[in-house]
């Protein structure tokens, strides 16, 4: 694990999300968005332990996963701003970001919707005899969806190469997990499908990385599905209009003590100086600001583009010489 690289990625996510938050507060960005400030360690730790050709299926809170996978933040800004240069030509927005060239199979506006889709990508890998794996992020809230139970069951019986990563940030919107589940741990549920699981500190990128690395390799070698439950916390609200009345400021303060970024800085200080860290921070902050400026100067899609693309034209699919 290259701690410096991880730190830079995590910092990019943090500054990106803070910029998005700021843009929203100024009315410069429309719609809604779900920020992952506080949860950066799960994104960089999990994705950093994967190969480039591994699939990722993300959630509504997916900017961090995508940035960790190596996406161009200018293109993410462009998509959020509804620009033609966006990853999805402005048709998807924050909840529908897909980057096929990174094997990133989309953020998703339907809670739990990505679980079977990730299992399907894993089935594809298995049927093709490849040694890739599929990784599915989901929140603890999604573990009450039927798709969670259906997908874990099928992943188990078919021994699919899939890693389920539960980012348990304790709240499904404003609903506390302990109010909607008899147990605090999602990992317990994996046991009923015969899927091994671990519960880890999701605020510690190093721990997330080491666990993911170990488990992902086992899956890659045919070990079948596994589940990681990372206990984490979003420092911001569920979405832009959330005043966080369902939790106390004391609880928030206690979690802020576990902020993954200062933790990484402490580790970094063993190899570089505080001054160098400040330089890195300034440079990444500037690159995020620059990315936004480039994106916002981009083109709005033409009105005719709204009506294009409901259907794929895939003449390439038909096998040759059979008709």
């Amino acid at each position: 694990m290259d701690i410096l690289e991880f730190y830079k990625k995590a910092l990019t996510i943090r500054f990106f999300e803070e910029k998005v938050d700021w843009l929203f507060s100024r009315g410069l960005l429309g719609g809604t968005t779900h920020l992952c400030i506080g949860q950066e360690a799960t994104a960089v730790g999990v994705v950093g332990a994967l190969r480039q050709d591994d699939y990722i299926v993300s959630t509504h809170r997916g900017h961090g996963h995508l940035i960790a996978k190596g996406a161009d933040i200018t293109k993410i800004f462009s998509e959020l701003l509804g620009k033609r240069e966006g990853y999805c030509k402005g048709r998807g927005g924050t909840q529908h970001l897909c980057v096929m060239e990174l094997n990133f199979l989309g953020t998703n506006g339907i809670t739990g919707g990505g679980l079977p889709i990730a299992a399907g990508a894993a089935l594809s890998i298995k049927l093709s005899g490849e040694d890739r794996i599929a990784v599915c992020f989901f929140g603890e809230g999604a573990s009450n969806q039927g798709t969670f139970h259906e997908s874990l069951n099928m992943a188990s019986i078919w021994n699919l190469p899939i890693l389920f990563v539960c980012e348990n940030n304790m709240y499904a919107m404003s609903t506390r997990f302990s109010d909607i589940s008899k147990f605090d741990d999602v990992a317990l549920r994996a046991a009923s499908f015969g899927i091994p699981s671990v519960i880890i500190d999701g605020m510690d990128a190093g721990r997330v990385f080491e666990n993911t690395k170990k488990i992902a390799e086992k899956i890659r070698q045919g070990g079948g599905p596994a589940l990681i439950e990372a206990k984490t916390y979003r420092f911001c609200g569920h979405s832009k209009s959330d005043a966080r009345l369902y939790r106390t400021r004391e609880e928030e303060a206690a979690w802020k003590q576990k902020d993954p970024l200062p933790k990484m800085e402490l580790k970094l200080l063993e190899v570089i100086s505080q001054g160098e860290i400040e330089v890195i921070k300034r440079s990444i902050k500037a690159s995020v600001d620059d990315a936004y400026e480039v994106a916002v100067a981009g083109e709005d899609p033409g009105v005719e583009e709204a009506l294009e693309g409901a259907y794929a034209q895939r003449e390439d699919l038909l096998p040759q010489g059979n008709i």
């Binding site: 030509k89 402005g90 897909c98 679980l115 079977p116 039927g146 798709t147 069951n153 099928m154 699919l317």
Partner: protein
Amino acid sequence: MPWTKIYSNKEEFEKAAAGSTLRGITYKEAILEATSRMLEQDKSVFVIGEGVDDAGGVFGTTKNLHLKFGKDRVMDSPLAENGITGIAIGAAISGMRPILVHMRVDFLPLTLDQIINHAAKWHYMFGGKLSVPLVVRAIIGRGWGSAAQHSQSLPSLFTNIPGLRVLMPATPYDAKGLLRAAVYDGNPVIIIEHRWLYDHMGHVPEDDYTVPIGKGIVRREGKDATVVGISYMAYEAMRAAEALSKEGIETEVIDPRTVKPLDMGLIIESVKKTGRLVIADTGWKECSVGAEIVARIMEESCGILKAPVVRVNLPETPTPASPALEKAYYPGVDHIISAVKKTIQK
């Protein structure tokens, strides 16, 4: 063409085909043959669904395919319709061509999240970067006490959604050709098959071919009235047309074959000629495929009708179980005959 004809049973087919060298097979055999050929030719094709490997093989349409191609490619699945649909979508976007089979259309409502929120939208909302070449087959039951939860038709659940295609083949030829077209279309395609068509026979070439999606067909020409017969009702419409012909009324029968997209050009051309329209559908009336056909005629050529349209649909109740009630419930040839006469009397 021989394969545009509709025959109900073996006797009818053999009588018509006497002296012909063209091969005849049933609707279910046509589906089995199309599936088997694609499994043979294309490693990315696989079949998944509850009971696809059972002894009956989904009423014969997947029979013994697991023995030939292995259980990895003809996969039995748990009772988890939404999950299986998601798995098929995930496989489709990562390079496979799944054919997902449901023994009853009634199980499709369990899959609507994955079909409507995901499959239908992915190509558009991801900027055209990935398509979802997913085929979902589902079968309309009828009779044997199928009743409310094993007999629904439900195309309108899907025809309302951009990004989807909905096919309702009525003949063995179309069943084979449209299934192949669906697998290689590149978009999510729902194929709704009527169980009562499964033993119908027809000419089916042994070679591979596709039937174009969005092209209807004139099953019988006539000048006095047009009947659009969807799925099994195409056959009932043919019987009605024969009976009406004996009374001197010549009915044009159109089988749209695919209900999304609809071949409105073909229907409008026919109605321009006849001025009268009856639509016979396997489902309910409100917001149905028939409703869409009428609306499109109003939008595109509202002056061509000489009489009000008459629609033949299921009554506005769920399907009853009792055979006595079922008899009263389902419209058929007689209803179509009356409907045609009604358009002519006006």
